[in-house]
Symmetry: C2
């Protein structure tokens, strides 16, 4: 596996574009399109929040046929809690793009991110849709990666090259995150494109398992969003012998996918709202991976721990308090806590519960004045 | 019921004192004693954190005989995660006070609050114990209320007068809170004294039920402490006919106890670390009181909601997102959200889940720069 560049348009047959359609008052790019020249196997993982945004409902419907060719995203407005018209506009957006691209409406996936509860200004999307399609380019990955951002400070892209049966295969991804980031999806959108040929069943399974170990292992503020999703399109144009079983080629693919997702997940944490530090928390000695992850996230979501990290204050009692709050059968005699200096930009925490043999690593950032400022002001 | 003054020494037979023994580097009072001239019925409610501090272990043991005469508290050090010597020092503290007061060692309850994981400087307590006992006074309530504080900005006391069978009965209380405040006890100590005559069984039940509806309905930062407890002493000196059943007198007593606990709980929230706003969240239309409380606390513990409150930014989508994160069967079509202006110092949130007929109210404060500063610096 080799890290390269090119993002979501590196894999054969993919184009992308991004532009400003006027949803964001700042005038920044807020409309993105990713497109595969041929129908691709498509799979998604979605937020577990019971309040889910209209575009997710539409995208879930459109994924039922297991294929897709386009992902349309607007930022600046979540199109969530927007009633009947929220759904109407999400549907219309997909229809509009399908018509312009001359593809099936059900092969257009839609996503929104931004403020909840404000009507989606559909007319603005409509007015720029033709330009968006016209500007699609095999070098447009960064434009799309830029246009999906909200309070993010930086674009987040990754590209890897692997070889499957002697054929070069690319996996590229982009993501947006920033706040409202917690397991089971964050205010997080992530798109992965690949020209690998793989069955839908294996693609879906690889994405689900990988998401559980990467995007679902990060937390910025413990808040679960209504709009999160990870989507993958695999159009098969690399010409590799299709992956149809869990053999060596599948493992190579999955390992690369894991690398891509973990890279994007970490980039989300590093660009967490107000983040000044990147924190890696490994919990070992758990009865299950799930227990280890829960303990890790209890620490990651403790405001007391996060502010201590911000203040370079190694108050490890707060780690003990967070673990204890889960009600596990752990006492101060069992619990082992190690940590690197809190003054560094990267902090490692190692916790041993001494209850079993499983472990998990989660990633988070500190809680700073910046987080309070961003989220006090944002609307 | 009448609100009066006098705190934990208003009820007949109670004395208290507080002084500085040098645990706090600031030189502020850090050692408190509350004392009943006669053995009192005693009950407690404790943190559900699995990492519990040494004094809680000792206090639980000492409550087994259902009586107590004294509560010794040090602030500035939690005596938690302090290994074998933590227990030894907690035991020794109780023994020392028992000897000075000439009472049973098991009738001394001990409590600590402050930083976790640092050895308790027992010698400092030992050196000042005689002075502490010597200074006990029927007017010492405020001194004790002061000495139990950590990052609290203000003393928190309340006193009420009720009449039971024609006899005047007093219930007084004091508390400390500030950060690490979340349901199932906070970094919170609360002491209630009364001269009511009541059986231990009813006293314990009244305290448990009342705590569930008051102290366990508040959250400052969603962090659960290792040291929390609520203790009540009822010495029976008011001379009322002992309450032995759940009749009218019990109801009067319990209502007054509820008033006292709710008052103290609200004072904790108002003095939450960095708090600039007091927020009351009522969730109705729930299938159970517990579900309503959970939904209320999900909102109360959402950093996105709390920072929006701080920023006077009525971003109600974050309320919807927090409720949805619980995975309840609620959709945007069911959920109703009302709120008062976010610019006010007091904010009311009303949420209707439309799932059932139960409701609950929880209390919280905003998340400000002040919280980050206090907890970044504290150690």
């Amino acid at each position: 596996m080799k890290v390269t560049s090119g993002g979501v348009t590196k894999a054969k047959g993919f184009k992308a574009n991004g532009l400003a359609c006027g949803i964001k008052r700042s005038g920044r790019p807020d409309l993105a399109l990713i497109y595969s020249g041929v129908p691709a196997q498509a799979a998604g993982v979605f937020t577990k929040n019971s309040i889910i945004a209209a575009p997710l409902v539409v995208t879930k419907q459109h994924l039922k046929n297991n294929t897709a060719q386009a992902i349309l995203t607007n930022s600046g407005n979540a199109n969530c809690f927007t009633g009947h018209f929220g759904f109407v506009y999400a549907k219309r957006s997909a229809k509009l793009i399908a018509k312009l691209l001359k593809i099936k409406e059900t092969d257009v996936l839609v996503a929104s991110t931004g403020i909840i509860g404000k009507p989606l200004p559909y007319e603005k999307i409509k007015n720029k849709a033709a330009d968006l399609v016209k500007g699609l380019s095999a070098k447009g990955a960064s434009k799309a990666a830029q246009a999906i951002l909200t309070t993010d400070l930086a674009r987040k892209e990754i590209t890897v090259e692997i070889t499957l049966n002697g054929k070069k295969v690319y996996i590229g991804g982009c993501t947006k995150g920033s706040g409202m980031i917690q397991p089971n999806m964050a205010t997080m959108l992530a798109y992965i494109t690949t020209d690998a040929a793989i069955t839908h069943t294996l693609l879906k399974q690889a994405l689900k398992e990988t998401t559980e170990q990467t995007f679902n292992c990060i937390s910025v503020d413990g808040c679960m969003s209504t709009n999160d999703m990870v989507l993958i399109l695999a159009n098969g144009l690399a010409g590799n012998k299709p992956i149809t079983s869990k053999g060596k080629e599948y493992q190579t693919f999955k390992k690369a996918l894991h690398f891509v997702c973990l890279d994007l997940a970490k980039k989300i944490v590093k660009d967490g709202e107000g983040a000044t530090k990147f924190i890696e928390i490994t919990v070992a000695g758990a009865k299950s991976v799930d227990q280890a992850k829960k303990a890790g996230l209890a620490i990651a979501n403790s405001n007391l721990f996060k502010t201590a990290a911000f203040g370079s204050n190694p108050n490890w009692g707060r780690i003990a308090g967070a673990v204890g709050s889960l009600g596990l059968k752990v006492t101060e005699w069992d619990l082992k806590i190690d940590f690197s200096s809190f003054s560094q930009k990267n902090i490692q925490i190692k916790v041993d519960l001494n209850l079993g043999k499983h472990k998990a690593t989660v990633y988070t950032c500190d809680l700073s004045y910046g987080y309070v400022k961003i989220n006090g002001d944002y609307s």
